[in-house]
């Protein structure tokens, strides 16, 4: 892991000069801004039970669907298409260092963009000193959830990028995988089929992977290690598959 910092700083720099990063950032902040004002407007008319921050984080999947693919789709596919993967991997670095460096760079940027939404809440506290609006618990829980679930989601994006030399294909693949992971599993959880008693173990598994449940728990301040484990091991698995993917492609190229 000697070269990890070198690759990480290089990748961050490359992300910062890439146009898709800025597209992701602008789309993300604009969308989140709209959502946030929409929520506030709603709250100013009718008092609600949930705090605005909880509602805000419930919509986390909207930006995840486009932001993660935009940040990660290039990372490996572009190097392969350009042939720079060949110069990179013939330098004294390992595939693991390369994949982890790229992953960490995308993850940090992902966190950075989410952190920018902290500004919304900051402005809210400055100008609406009504403590009814600001509930620190769900807010921190929400950000923690974003940080933890991002470990997995960004790894999925990196994995998709390791499979194709075409960044558009990688982006769409990342979108599809994330959709299956977030919406697909939630939908499976609601299937009649699983309600049967015989399906109880399967139902538990599906329940365990329900991302929205995790968010709810985090917002209520419940941090379950099993949920942490789900994201950490999911992320690790996706990264291992990315490393294997890069190496297998070399074997068969």
């Amino acid at each position: 892991m000697k070269h990890f910092p070198t690759i990480l700083s290089h990748e961050i720099r490359m992300l910062l000069v890439s146009s898709s990063t800025y597209i992701a950032a602008v789309l993300f902040l604009a969308l989140m801004g709209f959502i946030f004002t929409g929520i506030l407007e709603n709250y100013s008319h009718t008092p609600r039970e949930l705090s605005p921050s909880a509602v805000f984080f419930q919509l986390f999947w909207i930006p995840v669907f486009f932001m993660v693919p935009l940040l990660t789709m290039k990372c490996i596919s572009e190097e392969r298409r350009h042939g720079t993967l060949e110069t990179l991997l013939t330098a004294p670095v390992s595939t693991a260092e390369v994949v982890l460096g790229k992953y960490a760079a995308a993850y940090l940027l992902y966190l950075g963009l989410w952190a920018a939404t902290g500004g919304f809440f900051f402005i809210l506290t400055r100008f609406a000193p009504d403590s009814r609006f600001i509930d620190l618990g769900p807010l921190l829980g929400g950000y923690l959830f974003i940080a933890v679930s991002g470990l997995f989601f960004v790894a999925v994006g990196v994995f998709a990028s390791s499979l194709s030399r075409n960044q558009a294909v990688a982006g769409i693949l990342a979108f599809a995988l994330l959709f299956a992971l977030i919406i697909g599993l939630k939908f499976v959880g609601t299937l009649e089929l699983l309600k049967a008693d015989a399906m109880a173990p399967l139902r538990n598994v599906v329940e365990y992977t329900n991302v929205f449940r995790h968010l709810e728990d985090f917002s209520r301040g419940i941090v379950d290690t099993r949920q942490l484990l789900y994201y950490v091991s999911g992320g690790a698995l996706a990264l291992i598959f990315s490393i294997l993917g890069v190496e297998a492609k070399l074997l068969h190229s």
């Binding site: 060949e86 990179l88 013939t90 004294p92 390992s94 190229s253």
Partner: protein, 333 residues
Amino acid sequence: MSDSSPAIEVRELAKTYAGVTAVNKVSFTVGQGEIIGFLGPNGAGKSTTMRILTGFLPATSGSVEICGHSVAADPAAIKRLIGYMPENNPLPEDMRVGEYLHYRGRLKEISRKKLGPRIDEVLELCDLKRVRHRIIGKLSKGYRQRVGIADAVLAEPPVIIMDEPTIGLDPHQILIVRDLIASLRGRMTVIISSHILPEIEMTCDRVLIINQGRVVAAGTPAALRKEFLGANRYDLEVAGDPAELGALLTSLDPDVAVEEAAEPDADGFRKIVFTAPSGDIREALWSALAKDSRFRVRGLGRSRHTLEDVFLAATRRSWDATDAPASRPANVA
């Protein structure tokens, strides 16, 4: 590792891509400090061989040793021994030249303290000082090529492998790149590939001609000429009856073979190319023709064989060998 041990030793190397044999039992050794050229038509297997040498691709069978380290068993050590410039010289488009070399230097484990001076040195060597702060994507092809070479030599590895370093350059840029490669002579072992013959001939100590995944000829350019086109070849411009001329030539050297006889031009002179295997017959021919009133001579010269002729002869010979039915079973198996 003693100085006399070979820098690169390749034994029975073979590579098959999904049933297509790209490299077929190639063996060769390269001594330290040698500059060696891989020559072969497109699809001959030059790039595949080079990628296996760098450890980027695994071989299907056979072994490669670089400075005594096995590529298959010790890829990490190999990466530190080789400076590699792949085919088409891929470079990140949106980095500056200096930044790129700095990044590559860090990856190649040059210490921070040494890296700055070393980058200056390499920029000087490759004449890149002027473009140090330019974006790589906006550089001309000649500069890009030199950035690739600068990267290959950056960590001063004992072995440099460059895949078609002069492809797509104009003659002036080719000259610069050639001088650059020649300046590495003696300090580093260099392998370059090309399908452009004069390049190889001028820079390389030894040439390996590869066709269809096989080494079909190897040696110094001079030795190859001798092996493949032993005979001396002459160009003669003469006016007169070709049949009588043939008799005269045979009287000088019984083994003369006329390769080419052109139609006579407006003045009655025709160009004749012939070979005479034994010794130089120019002087004897000249005086015989001068004395003989049947012929008028305008020119006589001995043409030097270019490596191109050797290359064509060697590849033709290998096509013949593979087209022969006897070698088919070996190919299929």
